[in-house]
Amino acid sequence: MHCKELESVLEAEGLGQLSKDARLHLATCGSCQGLLADFNSITEAAKSLPAEVNPPDRIWISLRAQLEAEGLIKEPVEVSEKASWWESFAAAWKLRAFAAVTAAALVMAAAVYVKHVPENGGSDIAKKQTPVESPRPAQTQLAAVPPVTAVPANTAPTQGSVPSSKTKELAPSPSESASFTLNQAELDVPNMQLAGNSQVDTALRQNLRTLNAFIAECELRVKQNPQDELAREYLYAAYQQKADLLAAMMESGRGDN
């Protein structure tokens, strides 16, 4: 073996175990002994260099600020104790999964209610119920639509139709809650930066407007004629569609971030 060959061996195999030929050459070549000894000195000295060095704390502070500025750190939304229940609920709506599940639950509840109202007429409730001042915002498109539990004043009470214990249900009905929750979620959509001008965003917004108009019409029909089962079914389906649409819009908004 020659010096050049030994160097090739060192290049390919490193400084570990050398072949018998290489060792024989090393035993007789001072130049290559020096080369190997120097390489070993270098690697030993390199091992003494610290592989880890503590960075200054300011790097993390600066990095974290940057991560927050870019929205990469998503801290849980803090809700003050004074916040009303619907503000808390609106904050929770920002989580798409929660939104979808809640919407589904509300729609199901609304559906059950909607399908049972014609049978009991809700007369006792009508007697005892005063208009519930729900904390819906004035600008909400459907805010003026009365709850579907409102019963015409001329409806005669049905004897024993509603147990007295049910008077606790003076709170917003499931249908009203579904409508209100969906409207709240709709208000939150712009907050989620779904203000893009892409074709998808434009189409989603157009769909939402169409759906809102349809819901308003259905609610009006139900208000005028609570016995109209077809209107109730359409209303139920529209709520469901709106929940899905809002979930899609939220997802799109989050994706844009």
């Binding site: 080369l35 690697t43 390199a46 880890e52 991560l67």
Partner: protein, 242 residues
């Protein structure tokens, strides 16, 4: 075996585990690899960071930051640039953490990003570096061929200290420097370096050999320079006063 080993008295806590080494990545200095507290695994932290959890980001930063900073420091040679590069590397990493699918080790991914950021910066700034070709040319001051290796007066044995070595590492071309730091200082194996650098294992070995050869020349030159200065001081009438 590594995963259950315990190192007492390390800097991040009284008791830490050596991180499990994925695949065949078991470098000779694996004992120096970043460890992790028992409370949270790296995989859990990655998952949480992908969801935007601040504590998970910090955990990953603390887990790998010291190693990344050491790499940046060795690559650029000054703390201010190293800090800047480290922050940039982590920022890029966290921006893309949602795309991490665990196909390679997280540390490999991070080091790849760091190396890219550093090399990009070096290219942009065109920091003064010597090319290998230049070093093979006869030196203007000393016309003796530098490949006159193994001569007794140039032996490095016992003459390589940390200061000399660090100074010479800074003079290596960036590619050589990266491979040398990753292998001989940080203890990565060639297959890991190939992943980080995006090259073949053979290429990594070749680069390391050339880096060591170049370092040897630089260190020998340092010794010659020191010897010249000592002779000059001895001949100078004021030498004894210096």
């Amino acid at each position: 075996m590594c995963a259950s080993s315990v190192i007492p008295g390390t800097t991040l806590g009284a008791t830490r585990r050596i991180r499990p080494i994925s695949g065949a990545a078991t470098g000779q200095l694996a004992r120096q690899r970043p460890a992790q507290p028992v409370a949270l695994t790296e995989a859990e932290a990655i998952r949480l960071a992908q969801a935007g959890n601040a504590a998970a980001f910090e955990f990953l930063y603390q887990l790998h930051g010291r190693r990344v900073y050491a790499l940046c420091l060795r690559m650029v040679g000054n703390p201010a640039d190293a800090e800047d590069l480290m922050q940039e590397a982590f920022l890029q990493l966290f921006r893309k953490i949602g795309t991490f699918r665990g196909e390679s080790a997280f540390s490999t991914w991070l080091h790849r990003m760091t190396v890219n950021v550093v090399l990009m910066r070096l290219r942009k700034k065109s920091l003064p570096t010597d090319s290998l070709e230049e070093t093979l040319e006869p030196d203007a001051e000393n016309s003796a061929p530098k490949r006159d290796v193994g001569a007794p007066d140039l032996r490095l044995t016992g003459a390589v200290d940390r200061v000399n070595l660090e100074r010479c590492i800074e003079k290596l071309p960036p590619g050589y420097r990266t491979v040398f730091v990753l292998h001989d200082v940080q203890g990565y194996e060639h297959n890991e370096i190939a992943d980080i650098m995006g090259c073949s294992v053979g290429n990594s070995k070749s680069q390391l050999h050339k880096a060591r050869t170049r370092l040897r020349e630089l260190l020998q030159e340092e010794l010659r320079q020191q010897a010249r200065e000592e002779r000059k001081a001895a001949k100078s009438p004021t030498g004894s006063l210096d």
